[in-house]
Amino acid sequence: MLPQRLAEIETALSQSEPPKDPRVKQALYALKLLTAEVRSQNLDFRLLRCLCATAYRLMELDFKRIESYLTLVWLFSVLREYSRAWQILLHAERVVPKHPAIQAGFESIQVLLKKPSNFQPVDMDAVAISFQFSAEGPAAELGSEDALAWNTLFPLLKQVLAEAEHTTLQARWQAMQSAYHPLQAQVLQVLRTAQEGSEHA
């Protein structure tokens, strides 16, 4: 993040009015503590859930505070759901009084999306794991609509993976990750449902 942007955020925070409602004050303090703790505990999921609950509570108490939206943007980003994070920022931009942290959020996500290094092994693993299923296996576990989607998508995905060079695969994965495309949603939904079906079987 640019030093100038950091300075703008610091100025905005120092000029912001302290909350009058003690519950808001308390939620803000909890977000600060939980953010620090979640970082020191390697993003423990129980703490991530606490952060999520606290952010939504803060939003209920005062929907104009930037902190709740930024926490959700941060949460979606650690889950690599960048398009969701972007959409939350777009919403925050409409409801929160003008704040430099919103612009910083947009800039940060753009940086993340531009970086090829954004392809972490975990993403490739996710694809590999999904391909342990046969085309027939998950279809039997799913509803007819999902099964149809799976049967259509599976050969396509398999073909893409078989033909793709490593760099091409990265580019394709990035293109898929860069926006919440309907196809991406469909693919992810099918893969997730199929995985769950297999585990419960």
């Binding site: 993040m1 939980l34 620090a36 703790e37 970082r39 993003l43 859930r49 959700l72 939350i88």
Partner: protein
């Protein structure tokens, strides 16, 4: 280079197409993902800087007992969560 430019143009278009989303509409989905613990969470550096700018960069010794943690997670109403957060704040004064 052409590929880069193409991907960039595509990305810009995709981002321009995204519409604002009220956080409430994705609350359930986000909670389910966090409960499922199936994905690996990783904090991107760019967002870490922003989060630190807003919530503070210094390391804090946080006191969070299992009982308070469970209280926060089990809270079924805003008021119950307020009480759990009050306990949490009290322990860290």
């Amino acid at each position: 280079m052409r590929d880069d430019a193409f991907l960039q143009a595509e990305l810009n278009q995709d981002l321009a197409d995204l519409k604002p989303l009220h956080p409430r509409t994705v609350k359930g989905a986000l909670e389910r993902v966090l409960e499922g613990e199936r994905v690996r969470a990783e904090e991107p550096m760019a967002l870490k800087q922003l989060s630190q700018a807003v919530f503070g960069a210094q390391d804090i010794q946080v006191k969070l007992s299992d009982s308070v943690l469970e209280q926060i997670l089990a809270a079924k109403s805003g008021e119950a969560l307020d009480q759990a957060l009050a306990q949490f704040a009290k322990a860290n004064r």
